[in-house]
Symmetry: C2
DNA sequence: AATTAGCACTCATACAAATCGAGTGCTAAC
DNA sequence: GTTAGCACTCGATTTGTATGAGTGCTAATT
């Protein structure tokens, strides 16, 4: 069967109406849309077809129709862009630059949640492409050395290293120089085992102590899974009855709390954004089962990548019911993308 | 009216039963407790008295009784200790020392939640009593200086300082020395404005640049409200029907998410623990409205202070229904108190 | 051939009445 | 002082009934 012009319009009307009300929509309701000039009976026939084709479904015999996942997908892919011009009057969101990146991201998460009335999350940017700017070892205690590692974008990592034996101030100084000359300017992913071995050699066969310190530093550099995730607006899901029963709510809440579950989503999302190339907006929509996170099967998840200076890419996303206002969400995400971008360009 | 032996036992039976079932408990139920040898009718008379005295109440005419806040309070204060011996077979929880304090605390929060089936939170320790161990300024970029501040207990603070003018390496070095000689060994709260002014003077009237850097460092030191709070097990509240209606659940979830709301609770709790003196266990119980957090009025909150080496005190707490298993919760908190303590003593 | 009106049918929802039963308070007997 | 007995209360559950939104199908209309 073919999805002709009229079917498309009816499908759109059904979905739009359902997005607004959250209630199954019947033929009579649709027949009232003037553009169509169709009687309920005709609509019913078309609906029957649409159901057969999998775009809509009935929660129970003889009730109105609701969009299926496939229906939402069609809506997002085909119908939404056409209407983009309609969305206009969203006021700009204001992001204040925070001292700490983490504060900034928390703020963004909150903005996303407050503006959309859905739950929001945002991750810290990935930094393995970033270049190492500076390393400093300092002797803090008799047996402790503090390594401070600064990466492009002013991401700072600290690592307290406990040394087994003695290590005099002079050695520390020398090590500092050595590490900086060899590693500065390299991107984190380029700092590999071979390089580390080389540095150890250069350091002389001094002692196991020195080697262990170098290892510790290398480990700190490699541990770029300092990926933090901030969430906001979890309570918003209570605004949507279809997500509020014990089971579902509990699932969603715990996913939001167990932030690391988002790792998978993030990887996939960044991946897809990359494949899409420079042209796209970097916005992905996962409807129900499409989501890489099993527990999100009753929700839709809209993700967007953002980019700070120096190509640090992170991800933010909105989690809401399938009948979320996709247009508004997309617009909101885009606005924040732009603002984050601008914020870091200027300074 | 006097709360005699028999009334006490009946009250205890009522509360215990309610804690188990979550249902109002009637006279017949209580009469089955063999220790009492009383008929339902007698129990009813006693219940009537207990209600008049405010320890229990009826959700509606002619239904069983449930404990009032006052009843819970009595239970926690008088009845619980007597039975402490009964609680025995809780297996020890294992805390692995994590590299980062934050990881450790997240782990503890999770343990608390998993073991009790309630929601849990834990704060980072307060450090204003702690002594400054080490300051290091490093020139990272032409116009950027990184300040690393290490506090007793190996708490590390980073602050990126943007300088307006130029600052040569020599000045940085000199400043390093100056700051360390003046500040090392002082507790954070002792570093006041006078001291900062003194240092500025010693630095010479070099330039506004130097002064601004010193100010920035001072600010970083003073900003000990790096208070972080980690939560776990928010979804556990769905296990208790009395907390699961939209309104209440939403309140609780958002309080858990808006972690800073716990600030008040934390201050009060540490305060009370301090007043209690060294003898107490540092465990506080807030029942319903007793809680300093308004949104927690339908829950009970049990807090415990913990202490890492060097007197860094933090707080952890369990949030659950009023009918939570207070004994188990107290035991769990104590166990973790002890384990945290031990963990830092050893190393 | 496409559209529409009409009709019988389905089923969630709301509502009221009926019933049940756990629990109470009170009184009288023990 | 304790207990048995009884009338009474009131939430919860069940049952029956009506309502209405919605459907699918068929026959009439355009």
């Amino acid at each position: 069967m073919e999805l002709n012009e009229r079917k498309t319009r009816i499908l759109e009307a059904i979905i739009r109406n359902y997005l607004e009300t959250g209630e199954p929509v019947g033929s009579r309701t649709i027949s009232k849309y003037e553009e169509l000039h169709l009687s309920p009976a005709t609509i019913r026939n078309e609906m029957s077809d649409l159901e057969e084709m999998g775009y809509i479904l009935q929660p129970h015999t003889s009730s109105g129709r609701i969009p299926s996942d496939k229906g939402y997908r069609f809506y997002v892919d085909r119908l939404m862009q056409d209407k983009e011009r309609e969305v206009a009057d969203m006021h700009e969101m204001v992001v204040q630059k925070a001292d700490e990146l983490s504060e900034l991201l928390k703020q963004v998460a909150r903005l996303l949640a407050d503006n959309t009335n859905y739950a929001a999350m945002i991750s810290t940017p990935q930094i393995h492409h970033n270049k190492l700017k500076f390393i400093q070892l300092s002797k803090v205690d008799v047996d402790q050395i503090l390594a401070v590692i600064v990466v492009e974008g002013n991401i700072i990592k600290n690592k307290m290293i406990r040394v087994d034996g003695e290590m005099d101030a002079d050695t520390v100084l020398k090590l500092n120089l050595l590490l900086n000359t060899h590693l500065n300017g390299l991107s984190l992913e380029d700092i590999n085992l071979g390089l580390i071995t080389l540095i150890k050699e250069r350091a002389g066969i001094h002692s196991a102590v020195v080697a262990s310190v170098i290892d510790a530093v290398a480990e700190a550099i490699r541990a770029d899974e300092d990926l933090e995730i901030y969430t906001s607006g979890a309570n918003n899901i209570f605004k949507y009855p279809e997500l509020t029963d014990k089971e579902k709510a509990s699932d969603i809440i715990s996913t939001l709390e167990e932030k690391r579950q988002f790792g998978k989503l993030m990887r996939e999302s960044l991946q897809e954004a990359a494949e899409e190339g420079g042209t796209g907006t970097g916005i992905q929509v996962y409807i129900g089962d499409e989501s890489p996170i099993q527990t999100m099967k009753d929700c839709s998840v809209v993700t967007a990548t953002y980019e700070l200076e120096d190509g640090m890419k992170g991800m933010m996303s909105i989690i809401g019911p399938k009948r979320m206002d996709y247009e508004k969400v997309a617009k909101t995400l885009k606005t924040l993308q732009t603002q984050l971008d601008a914020l870091y360009k200027k300074t």
